[in-house]
Symmetry: C2
Subunit: 135 residues, 2 copies
């Protein structure tokens, strides 16, 4: 199944630009957008951001699998997932999970489960870029 | 405490225009935006939208109370809530709850709890506008 059918993308596009293109729905009363944001510290040290990299086919294939399984388990939701790669500055989002359901409780449960599965199995590498010490 | 301090608003502004002004944060790795969207049916009948109304001081005061209590219970989060009033067409959002936390699990728990409390106690009236039968 192609990534495009499942609304999964991995690219250097910002999360906000992807989110801007989201179509509305009259059938889904709950629409959750989870943003995973780069924080400015890693192991107690200040960072300027994170450089994300992956083999797009491998990471995209794993995302597709997660979406296919989740839709099989909960057929009544819509989903869109975007993982930004390349350098993402602290304060910007690297991950977007959008879930739409008819009612709100399912949207919270399903979004949380997507995040859990993505964190667990999608092979995307993170290289923190440490702030230079003042010289 | 004034509503503005607590980032609570009730007005005819669209959810997307409020969301566009959200400041980023380098300290919060999770940023959830819950949109409550108007669906196109009510009790099995097609509607074109919902007309929301309230006494702003009363509804705003109740929202302020919810936020103050939640911040007391979970001091480590940021929140912004917007309820749109007036006519909201089916497919558009009437409620926005934004919660930012350092880590993701708390963001899901806290957003869900805001929604539960808002639904339970904030006095905003909903008048569904039914689609006209074809004549």
């Amino acid at each position: 199944m192609a990534s495009s059918d499942l609304k999964v993308s991995i690219s250097e596009k910002t999360v906000s630009s992807v989110e801007a293109g989201f179509p509305p729905s009259k059938h889904h009363g709950a629409d959750i957008r989870f943003h995973g944001v780069v924080r400015d510290e890693e192991d107690g040290r200040i960072i300027t951001g994170i450089d994300y990299s992956c083999y797009p086919d491998m990471a995209g294939g794993e995302l597709d699998k997660i979406v296919a399984t989740m839709l099989d388990e909960n057929p009544e939701h819509l989903v869109a997932i975007h993982h930004r790669i390349g350098f993402v500055a602290a304060g910007e989002a690297s991950l977007l999970i959008r879930v739409q359901t008819a009612h709100s409780q399912a949207a919270f449960d399903i979004s949380r489960e997507y995040l859990r599965r993505i964190k667990k199995t999608v092979p995307i590498w993170k290289k923190p870029i440490f702030a230079k010490n003042p010289s």
